[in-house]
Subunit: 208 residues, 2 copies
Amino acid sequence: MAEPAGISSLTLNRLSVYLRCLRQLQDSDVTHVSSSQLAQQFELSAALIRKDLAQFGEFGIRGTGYRVDDLVESLIKVLGLDRAHNLAVVGLGSLGSALARYLSINDKPFRIVAAFDVDGRKVGHKIGHLTIHHSREIREIIPQTGAQIAVLSVPESAAQRCYDDLADCGIKAVLNFAPVQLKQAPSVRTKSVDFQINLEELAYFLSS
Amino acid sequence: MAEPAGISSLTLNRLSVYLRCLRQLQDSDVTHVSSSQLAQQFELSAALIRKDLAQFGEFGIRGTGYRVDDLVESLIKVLGLDRAHNLAVVGLGSLGSALARYLSINDKPFRIVAAFDVDGRKVGHKIGHLTIHHSREIREIIPQTGAQIAVLSVPESAAQRCYDDLADCGIKAVLNFAPVQLKQAPSVRTKSVDFQINLEELAYFLSS
DNA sequence: ACCGACTTGTGAACGATCTCACAAGCACGA
DNA sequence: TCGTGCTTGTGAGATCGTTCACAAGTCGGT
């Protein structure tokens, strides 16, 4: 497509936002849109939209703007959402289960292919059509499943151990929900989604 | 304490991380720590730790480092975690319930004082010791509860409507979990925690 | 075929954020 | 009391991210 040189997280995250907004336009049967229209409607920056997109190619038509369908398709390709991604979910507490449920509903490109927990009452049972394995079997089972991404939703105390196991057995990316500062493995792309930190930021603003 | 001039989100989020790390040291009975020790042990930047802290005062002792207990206490004060914060939870699907449960377990400074959902089967029932109200009563009930922060975990289609209601009835901060680009109210400090965007970022790196 | 209205893509200015490197300061022992 | 060794707090510089402003390009009407 274009130049896959070091793209920043911020740009990538905005691409996801753009894609989301464009899909909303598709639903309203809008066929063409300019960067400034997008910016106004969704409270974004027009210049930034153009700069972000420019890093991957020329998707627009000068004088006209962007064809919504085309841009959606391009963004899907850029983000790698045109192929399936196999996920492993580790930790099926209430949060892990909620995430698993969410991922099953969506016919998105993400598909759960393995599930793990330490709770003896859960192991052996099914979540959807998937058997839950004990977390100590991570290293053994993951390689058989083709999972490349893991969703880590275990308690703080277990997070680092599970993370290391995942890294060891060839997982390429981890989305971590545990409120800990993980010691990262160089072979694993790691992102944390931290509820608590965000809440604490809001607390700061309310007491100042 | 010190200067409450425009502190960036990045700094604030790191303060939460530092606090977390320091508490871990407390648990290991470490009493003193230097910025470089912290940095090494938790994969942070020593200079950045000092710069971040310096924005709020002088907490360290030259030649010695920081007293762990003192710094924990200072950070708690800075972040506003020394007083209680009342939360409203809107949307009690699997994610909302998981969050509510998490917030109840922790004797943290966050306390749920109101809960809302649109599901008739849930309204009137209890979550913990709290009665669930219908979402259409948000404007009426929130002011009676003293809630200043709302956790928004409703489906995409309802998010903007609930957000506007919350803004209207005096909520000062919203932590949004719905995968939408919200049209923000100027009176409300808003943060989004977006699972999907983070997953898509990981997908990008796996297919490039 | 040309003009005018519009939009993209992009260098250059600006601003925010992080790293470097060191002066200022503290603790401890001689 | 002084010197050594260590660490903080901080200006100065480097890097990264965003906004500005405009040349280059497209379209539709005349």
